[in-house]
Symmetry: D3
Subunit: 139 residues, 6 copies
């Protein structure tokens, strides 16, 4: 059984790759390349699986999950500029694909401390950039 739990954060970013020249950046990213950036209300769905505990009827401790996602993702990304405030996006363009990669990296790294011997596994993250664009990363 899996639980998908929903989180939200509102951030700004500008898509501009240091590996592309100005014309290529404009061509690849269009208005997402506008110099002063723009922003989104990101919706992050974190899917975990676990063994059903017979006594509690639960597959995951929600408080722990909220702490991990809160400390490592929401509190860092919420109301921030991804390019300026998140170290990983000094060297990586903050497309939602790369945001997914970075979130996956952070959660994977934090998982053992939080859920080490509980059998709760991190399965998938899904990020909705806009209602039309949803990215899914299996972990």
């Amino acid at each position: 059984m899996t639980l998908t739990r929903r989180y939200r954060f509102s951030s700004s970013h500008r898509l501009h790759s240091p590996q592309l020249n100005d014309e290529e950046n404009q061509q690849v990213y269009g208005k997402c390349n506008n110099p002063y950036g723009h922003g989104h209300d990101y919706v992050l769905d974190v899917s975990v699986s676990g063994k059903l505990d017979a006594a509690t009827g639960r597959i995951v401790d929600l408080d722990t999950l909220d702490q991990v996602v809160g400390n490592h993702i929401v509190n860092c990304f919420e109301h921030r500029n991804l390019n300026a405030d998140i170290p990983a996006f000094q060297s990586m363009v903050p497309t939602t694909e790369n945001v997914a990669v970075e979130i996956g990296r952070r959660l994977t790294e934090a998982w053992p401390d939080a859920f080490g011997n509980t059998g709760t596994l991190l399965k998938k993250i899904r990020i909705r950039e806009t209602p039309r664009n949803i990215f899914e990363l299996t972990l």
Copy 2:
């Protein structure tokens, strides 16, 4: 091909496990352990797969599906108190995980009579407890 069909029911419950003492119950379930209970508008998505019938262009008979889910789930859970009205929750705490297990058990049991030789298979159920918490059970 799969079809996911959506059903809804509004129920109340209290999370309190007989296998835990009062303090543990309070710690595990927090305000979900409040003595007089609370409730949710559950959204149940039932996913089935089937072979496309060349004559009808259908993979499942919707009337039959609605009857099975209606008779065994919605009519029993709708506007009910899970702890008091559903026998399975005499011995099992009605977390949404256990609600999923009970719904899966009921549908699996009813399936052969309803869809015995049609090739329609029950694949997955998904229950949305609140817009933030969604449980998925592959069957």
Copy 3:
């Protein structure tokens, strides 16, 4: 200008009026009269109006609004049984109409202390019982 801010709480209730006999209760409320109750994920929209503050560009202090609605409504109703946990529903059947009346009464009473000389006015509350039933009370 008005701001509408959204809150949520999940509660259970049973519709049974002491002014009606059992048969009338069954006829008026149908399955909402089931003896052990049921529940909903209520959505509460609070609409306030105010003068635009030239320095802050705001019409209402959101922290104050969240405190008023939190202390007087959400913290009292969230994960509670309306019949058992809310004094007003000892003598009043907890239909969503009456829930709206009670919420309006509580907010109106708390308003002067919170927003006394700010010019922020309480205009309207709207409660969504289910996605199909929405009640609106102008204050």
Copy 4:
């Protein structure tokens, strides 16, 4: 990683199979068999996977995806009558199952020209006929 991108089109159709007689058509399709047809606001989710391009941080070129889905699906189905305007539904009843099959066939056929050597793969389409009925076809 997969991207799911959402498209919409509004079409009308009538469900009436030439392989069934009138009584059977009425029994299988009910009011969907009404002689003058009815319609839906279809929501089409197209899921693709791809390798993350290190320079652009993208897994798929969105302009190309929009062109393929636009030219082969949306522009053909939008504000059309499926029975009268789409050749495939001369011989196939336009149930949403068959609409999914036809969309899958069209996208599969157009894919090599559009995404031939990019590594972008067409994984899945999902069509929401109404908020209660969603069909998914893995490709």
Copy 5:
């Protein structure tokens, strides 16, 4: 206090005005003028007001409301072609504006018989043609 109750129906239509020539029809309605029609999943919100009944805690009898809207609107429009199946649209082009007018006319006409001496008033109808286009008619 007002209650807004939601109904749905799926219909097809073609926008073509007998008072305009072919070129004008094409210019005014664009692809909505396509000869074989298209369709929508209409969402109809009916808003009524009423006096709070002290005994029942209700402002309107929901069963009566569902019967009126069911008999006069949903059962007539659901899975129908508006041009062919609804007499009013023989002489009136079935734009959503005119659909609103026709629904308002039907409900106003049926109201006295259903709610004659109850004090329940029909206040407003709102029709969502697509998620982007919503029409509101105060009655």
Copy 6:
């Protein structure tokens, strides 16, 4: 009769008022005052009223409405930084209240040229900053 038509734009902003000192800015705006800004997917609903044209069955020409809102709002705000890209926010802090004021000012100014003698009136704008915060400005 009114039509409400929905538009969307994604922008970034930072809330920092030149009329407040740093400490006050931090106190009033909290994390919205973070130095590098953040962003939202704004939803803009524009409500207009008009006389029903007997020949076309329409109350407003949608192409004209889309052009006005497109040219004066969406194309200017979409994928932009409000503080840096919109002149009005040089001297006004871009709270959603002020964004509503600026949108109202722009539409009111553009209205006569677009809808001068048509009887179509601009009634209301509503901006959803996040699903929890909605601002409404009657015009």
